[in-house]
Symmetry: C2
Subunit: 490 residues, 2 copies
Amino acid sequence: MAKELTSRAENYSQWYNDLVVKADLAENSAVRGCMVIKPYGYSIWEKMRDELDRMFKETGHVNAYFPLFIPKSYLSREAEHVEGFAKECAVVTHSRLKMADDGSQLIADPASKLEEELIVRPTSETIIWSTYKNWIQSYRDLPILCNQWANVVRWEMRTRLFLRTAEFLWQEGHTAHATREEAEEEARRMLHVYGDFAENFMAMPVIRGVKSENERFAGALDTYTIEAMMQDGKALQAGTSHFLGQNFAKAFDVTFVNKENKPEYVWATSWGVSTRLMGALIMTHSDDNGLVLPPKLAPDQVVIVPIYKNEEQRAQLAEKAEQIMAELKALGIRVKFDNNDTKKPGWKFAEYELKGVPVRLAMGMRDLENGTIEIARRDTLTKETREMQGLGLYIKDLLDEIQANMLAKAKAARDSRIYEVDSYDEFKARIEDGGFFLCHWDGTSETEERIKEETKATIRCVPLEGDKTPGKCMVTGKPSAQRVIIAKAY
Amino acid sequence: MAKELTSRAENYSQWYNDLVVKADLAENSAVRGCMVIKPYGYSIWEKMRDELDRMFKETGHVNAYFPLFIPKSYLSREAEHVEGFAKECAVVTHSRLKMADDGSQLIADPASKLEEELIVRPTSETIIWSTYKNWIQSYRDLPILCNQWANVVRWEMRTRLFLRTAEFLWQEGHTAHATREEAEEEARRMLHVYGDFAENFMAMPVIRGVKSENERFAGALDTYTIEAMMQDGKALQAGTSHFLGQNFAKAFDVTFVNKENKPEYVWATSWGVSTRLMGALIMTHSDDNGLVLPPKLAPDQVVIVPIYKNEEQRAQLAEKAEQIMAELKALGIRVKFDNNDTKKPGWKFAEYELKGVPVRLAMGMRDLENGTIEIARRDTLTKETREMQGLGLYIKDLLDEIQANMLAKAKAARDSRIYEVDSYDEFKARIEDGGFFLCHWDGTSETEERIKEETKATIRCVPLEGDKTPGKCMVTGKPSAQRVIIAKAY
C-alpha cells in the first residue's frame, strides 16, 4: 500500500494528494471544489476541534450558531469586505424546483425567485454584527465573546483537498468590546491561542506576526497570523485573528452607551482556523511511508498487532493484548487491537504507517514466552524489543517523547531554512528553493507588489518576536523598521 | 423578568415563543425562517449532541462530512425523494456577485451562472450514496456506519423557533449493509438509541412505533419514529429512523459482490434528530416561570446565590461558596457561583428559574452561622433548609431524583391523556382537546386522509409495544390489525 505513494522527492504535490486519499483522510466529491471528509480524516479534525473548543472556553468564550445565509445587501455594507468576498460566493436565487413544462428535467421554479438573493456565508461578520445590534445597548452588555463552528463557502477557482476547498469547516470567533485596547488585546490573545495549539498539539512550529496592509482580512485594521513552513519550504497561513476596529459596528450601526453615558461604536475582533489545519498537519510531519501524527491528535495512539500461526496462538496473544489494552486505557492512552484475521501482519504494519499511528506494538509467541514486546515508533521508524513489565508507563512517556520530538524535528527543519538576505538579487536567486526569507522592506505596497509580481513570493508577516533592528529595504534601499518574513505560500 | 412570560393557560403558543426568546435560547434572524441559536440555547444543544455522539460511537458508528451542496440531477434520481424535497429547497444558481452596470447595487453576475444548479442539502442521502458507490465493491466493505453532524435547509413556509426552521442543525446517520435483515436491525437499533436518549437524558417519555405509508420519509420502505406528547396534548415527532431498502443503491447504482460472488444492490438506512429536540425539551417540562431542564442536559446543574448586606459578608459567603463549588465539582457536578454585585438575589432567583437551573443554593449570614443552606428545586419549586454537612452527596442524589422525577411527571401527564376510543364521533368530539388516541384503523390511505381532512389529526405511528389485539376501524368498521396512535401534531 505505502509503495503506491508518490515520493516527496519525485513530486511533492502529488505525494500530498496521494497521501490524503490513500490514508482515507478526504476525497473530492461530485460537487466542484467540495470535499468529502472521510471518517479517519474527520476523527483527526474532531480531536483538533475538541482541543481548540476547550481552549476557547478556557479563555471565556461561548459557542452560538448564526444563519448559513447572508442577505446580499448585508455583504455590501462594509466596502472592503464585499470587495473581498463578492467575487467568489454561492448565490441562492430560488426556493423551489419544479418539473419543466416539457417534462424533461427539474428547473428552478421562476415563481420562487427570491426578492433578495442570499449568499452562502463566506464568513459571518455581517450577519453576526446585524444580530449584535440587538444584543448591545450598554457597556454592561460587553464584552460579547462568541464562537461558532460552521461550514463556509468560498468559490475558489483552484481547489486542493483541505488546503483550499469551495466548502470548508472552520470556527469563527466574533467578539464585541467597549474599548479599542480590549479588542486589540483579544485579537492578540487568540493569535497566541492558535500559536499554542499549533505548537503544543500539532507539534507544528509557527511564526506569530502581523500581516501587511495588502494581506489583511477584508474589513480589518490589523490581521495577526500564524505562519508555518511546509516540508517543501513554502509558507502556510494556519490561522488568523483580526482587529476589526469599529468597521462592522459602523456598517451595522452598533453603538453602546459607555460609562460616561455617551454613545460609542463597538470595537470588534474576529478569528478563525479551518480544516486547512489538516493540510498543515499532513505537510509538516508526514513522510514517504504515509502520515505521521502527533500523539495528542492521533485517533489511535497505539496499535497492537499479533503475529501468530494458528487459532490457538491467536487466542493466547489476544488474551495478552487485552491485558495490555486495559493497562494502557487506564493511563488514558487510545489503543486499538487489530486482531483481524483476513490481513497479514506485514499488511497491517504498512497500513498503520500509512495512517500515522504513533506507536505500534507487535508480539508473537516468542515474545509471550520471554515476556517481551516489539515497539515501533512512527516518527523515527525505529524499533526495539522491550520487556512487557512496566509497559504502560513506558508507552505513556514514549508518547510524550514522540510529541516533543516531532516539534523539535519540525522546528529544526524550519529553522534551517530561515535566511537573512539583504540583496534583492540574492533573494530572487534563492526564493525558488523555498524557505522563509528575513528581509528588510520599506513598508510600501508598491514594493510588496513588485516582489510578488517578480517572484510570486509574498510578505507573510512582520514577526512579533525576534530581531527588531532597523535597516534598509532590500529592493529600494529605503529605511525599514525591521525584517519581515517573505516566502512563497500555499 | 419571569412575569413577562405569557402563561401557558393564556396562550400556549405565545408562552413557547416568549420562553425561547426570554430564556436566551434562540431568536429569529434577519434571514427569513433562519434562527440564531444563542449561547445558552447552544450550550444545551451541545450537551445533547455530545451524549448522542457518544451513543452513536458506542454502537459502532463513525463521523464523516459530506458536501453542503447537491447537484440538482442527484436529487431527481430517487423519484419519491425528489417529490418530497423539491418544493422547498434553496437553489444556488450563480457563483459571483458584481456591481450592476448602473452602479446601484450588487447583482448575481450572469456570467457566473452555473451549468447545473446546486441544492443546499435538505438531507444527504443522494450525495452520500453517490459517494458510497466508490467505497463499496465487496461484502468486505460492508457495513458502512457513518454519521454526520451538519446544517440542512428546507424552505418551510411557516416557521417556529427550533420546531420548524428553514435552516436547522441535525445529525444524519447513513448506513450501508449486505443484507435486508441487517439494515432493518440497524434502523430499529437507532430508533431505540433515540428512544433511550429521549427518556434517559431528556426525561421525555416517547412512544416508539412505525409510520404509516403516508407519513414515511420520502424514499423509505419503513420509517420508525419516537413520538412525544407536549403539554398541550399535541404530538411531536422527535426522531426518525428509516429502512431505505435498496432504493438509493438502485438510484446510484451501488452494488457489491456478495459471499457467493454475485453482484447485489446494497441495503440502506438513514436516521436523524435535529435542533427540533430543543423544542421538545422545552415543551415537555417548562412552566410559567420558565425553562425546566433535566439535570443531565443542564449547562449549569446548580447555582449558588449569596445573600449579603455588605462587602465583608460578601467575602465571607464567597469563601464558603468556593468550598461548596470544589466539593460539587469533585463529584462531577456542574456548578456556578453568581457573585455578581449589580443584581439583587430576587432578580437572580427569577433569572435562574427562567433559565431552568435544576438546583439553586442560597445562603446568607445566618446560614453561615448555623452551618445551613437553602436548597430550591426547579422541578417542584420547593425549598428546604438543610445542614451544610454532606451537601455534595446530597446534591448528587438530588440531581438524580430530579432527573427521575421529571421523567415520571412527564410520563404521568402523558399517560393521563392517552385514550382508547372506538367511535369516530367520539374521536371527533374529543380530538380538539389534545391527547393521543389509541384507535383501530383499517390500514388504508383513504381512511387516514379522511381523518386528517376532517380533524387535522394524523396517524402518528403504529406502536411497537403494547396492545396488539385486532379490532374494527373506528371510521369504516373494516378489520384492523391493532390500535394506532392518532393525534394532532407539531
